[in-house]
Symmetry: C2
Subunit: 287 residues, 2 copies
Amino acid sequence: MGLEVVVPPGDLIRLGGAFRKDVSGYDLKRLIVGSEGTLALITAAWLRLMPAPEAAHPVVAFFASTESGCAGLEAVLGNGVTAAALDYLDAGALDHASGSYPGDVPNEARFMLLAEADGSTAEAARVRNELLEVLAEEAITVETPEPKALWRWRDGVSIAVAAALGGKVSEDIEVPVDRLADVIRETVEIGRRHGLEALSWGHAGGGNVHATFLVSRDDGGNLAVAEEAASDLFKLALALGGSISGEHGLGSAKRRHAGWPPRIEALHAEVKTAFDPKGLLNPGKKL
Amino acid sequence: MGLEVVVPPGDLIRLGGAFRKDVSGYDLKRLIVGSEGTLALITAAWLRLMPAPEAAHPVVAFFASTESGCAGLEAVLGNGVTAAALDYLDAGALDHASGSYPGDVPNEARFMLLAEADGSTAEAARVRNELLEVLAEEAITVETPEPKALWRWRDGVSIAVAAALGGKVSEDIEVPVDRLADVIRETVEIGRRHGLEALSWGHAGGGNVHATFLVSRDDGGNLAVAEEAASDLFKLALALGGSISGEHGLGSAKRRHAGWPPRIEALHAEVKTAFDPKGLLNPGKKL
């Protein structure tokens, strides 16, 4: 809701505060949030706290194909079911992670959706039942696993995938949800063109894809090839009207892939100069 | 979620799009939202739609004082009751508007809270019961009026207040919720110092106050005095760590009251110059 920041060379300013709405000036607060330390140093923040949900029930569905899984996802969104989480694993991610799944993964499963219903006890139960009903149409099986074991397993997916060959290059792109199936297929195809195993998982409900290329630790050249594959992936995200970064920013590694047209490049440079004319803050990052 | 805009002299750019998260660059989209047409012309927008609630139940509580009303409001927020609306009327606003209220206003009522519970049928009923329980502690009476009649009446509050003397100067400040009672009292006090009847109503849950000074149409000098009273009100909002505009922007009328320190003034000017170096867009507004 508000930030207290220091702007170079040393101006302490407050933007927003302990109140909900502020339309008195340009939204400089939002400009600083996500700026990766390149515009200002944040010295204090006012946060809005939300009550923790009384109950949370995960619902897991397995599908025979990416297409039927994405149809299931769109049915959840299209029916206005307000899930608190809507994650997915593609066939490749499932292959590497299903061994430790706290339950049975059907042999023919090529796509997995993990949804969660939360809220008051009654509301969480109601949304869980809606998820079960909507997902049953396309799924092979739908189940309600024990939350702790499920999310502990989900947290380990990245590690299980990395363990396959010893290393991975994982990117974090964002695309319109109705292009999710295309991106999941194309990720595997981009890997194939570069001679790499590729797979993905992510936060399907928002169109977020953790596209991943597996590399061996014994083969140094592997990593350079995976970086080329990632470059193709970023081009795909931009071509589909998406973003090359949904969660983790640009840093110095992804900056050259931003693909901004000249005017957006210029606006970024001018914003940076307004806040930090001498380039003192986190140089080489974000822009 | 996304904007297509034209930036002077004629660059068409897209910021964000049909996806949830984007942290690839500075949040230029948020900078344009609320910029009152001074940075860019919006030619298309991607919106996120939320399912309409199945049910909505208003809950109205009357209190014997501003203090007990604000205590009731803080009890709703402090108990984590997720009301969809939390509006208030102070004693002066009630005086002018209670005549047409679709129900009985207790004689001793000096403060009114209008809350709304919404969501699925069961969830809306659950939240309504929580509101009734929490508000009953401090209120004289708590009731669940018919929604349409209640909100039609609420929409008419501004007109009822204006009708008292024929005119009003109404401002829209935002303060931390725990200072709401102070602001309600101070609004009346500022009016008194200027020889004007003053009152307020607003969106209490977010700390939004429609502070209002009544003026007569027959007395031209009245209006200038009310503008001076409004100026005192803006100083009060800033002194309390709030904002001089929660909803309606600055335009040309409120700009001189912004009270920004020099560095914030400079940042606004530099942002404006980056987007619109020749000052073509909505000149004289916002900054």
